[in-house]
């Protein structure tokens, strides 16, 4: 093993507390929701069957709870990536300058306030709340925590999330 470098540099530390750029999706399509359900083997009719969903408290199809994550990766209905704002990519770029190569999801916590509906446009805003350096069984690296709030076009809070990644 080479000498351990100090990963938590001043440049990295300065990222703590910084806000990410807001990112807004295009309108969510029913086909985006159905494709997500097909991919995850989710045949719950609340998400895929408009006739069934019309008889539920929602009066129509809603997206599965975790669908919002997909909405921020691709522009709906296309293979064009949604710009991810200043959060994880900036940190990943910074991590590239350090003796770390890999990233792992280590934690995901979401609180859901209201459903995502077809036609919604979602906006995500967030900030980096913590970066700590630790030795783990896969190596020495940086745990990074990001907190996001996702709102819809009416300004309603759809969900909040805490994500933690390990860069090593």
């Amino acid at each position: 093993m080479e000498e351990k470098a100090e990963l938590l540099t001043e440049e990295v530390t300065q990222l703590i507390g910084t806000e990410t750029k807001g990112v807004t999706t295009l309108p969510i399509q029913v086909t985006d929701i159905v494709r997500y359900c097909e991919a995850t083997g989710n045949d719950n009719p609340l998400y895929t069957d408009s006739e069934y969903a019309a008889g539920t408290p929602y009066k129509g199809i809603i997206a599965p709870p975790t669908f919002y994550q997909a909405a921020f990766c691709l522009v709906p209905g296309t293979f064009k990536p949604v710009p991810r704002g200043a959060n994880i990519e900036d940190i990943a770029q910074l991590a590239e300058k350090l003796p770390v190569k890999h990233a792992l999801d280590t934690k995901q916590e979401t609180r859901f306030m209201c459903p995502v509906l077809p036609g919604d446009t979602l906006t995500r805003r967030g900030k980096i709340t913590a970066i700590t350096e630790k030795q783990t069984k896969v190596g020495r690296g940086l745990f990074c925590t990001i907190e996001n709030a996702i709102t819809n076009q009416k300004g309603e809070l759809v969900c909040t999330e805490v994500q933690e990644y390990f860069f090593y």
């Binding site: 609340l46 975790t66 997909a70």
Partner: protein, 153 residues
Amino acid sequence: MGHKDVKQLYFEDIAVGQPIPPLKVDELSPTTVVKFQAATGEFAAPHHDYEFARSLGLPGTILPGPLMFAYQAQLVTDWIGPGGWLSELHAGFKGIGLVGHEFCVEGTVVNKYFTDGENWVECDVGFRDVETDAKVTTGKAVIRLPSKEARPA
């Protein structure tokens, strides 16, 4: 397209210690992962490129965290029915989920209470590799359920 019979779950149906009907993922195939990556637009290579994954020292291609998170949510939403609400979902990614393995998503009720005019249920939930018996994720879910009885406002 036929679909599963999703029943409504009520607060009165719940007992602490009760298991959630498990969600079995018989073989989490490369095709499933590719479909998920296409549906989400997260194309990180360790999830679909075996040689690349091996070059990172991984035993094979690995499941995306958001896919396991989605299955955890599905365990709950299949169970609670359309009148229930998944309020909180947590996942700690404790290990690597290998593509091609068989998995089981499972959970247990750990608490139930009435507060702020709503019925709440807390469950431990997780994603287990059936072949190795390793817990790939551990987490919890907090859900809100309707009551069979009208409660005073």
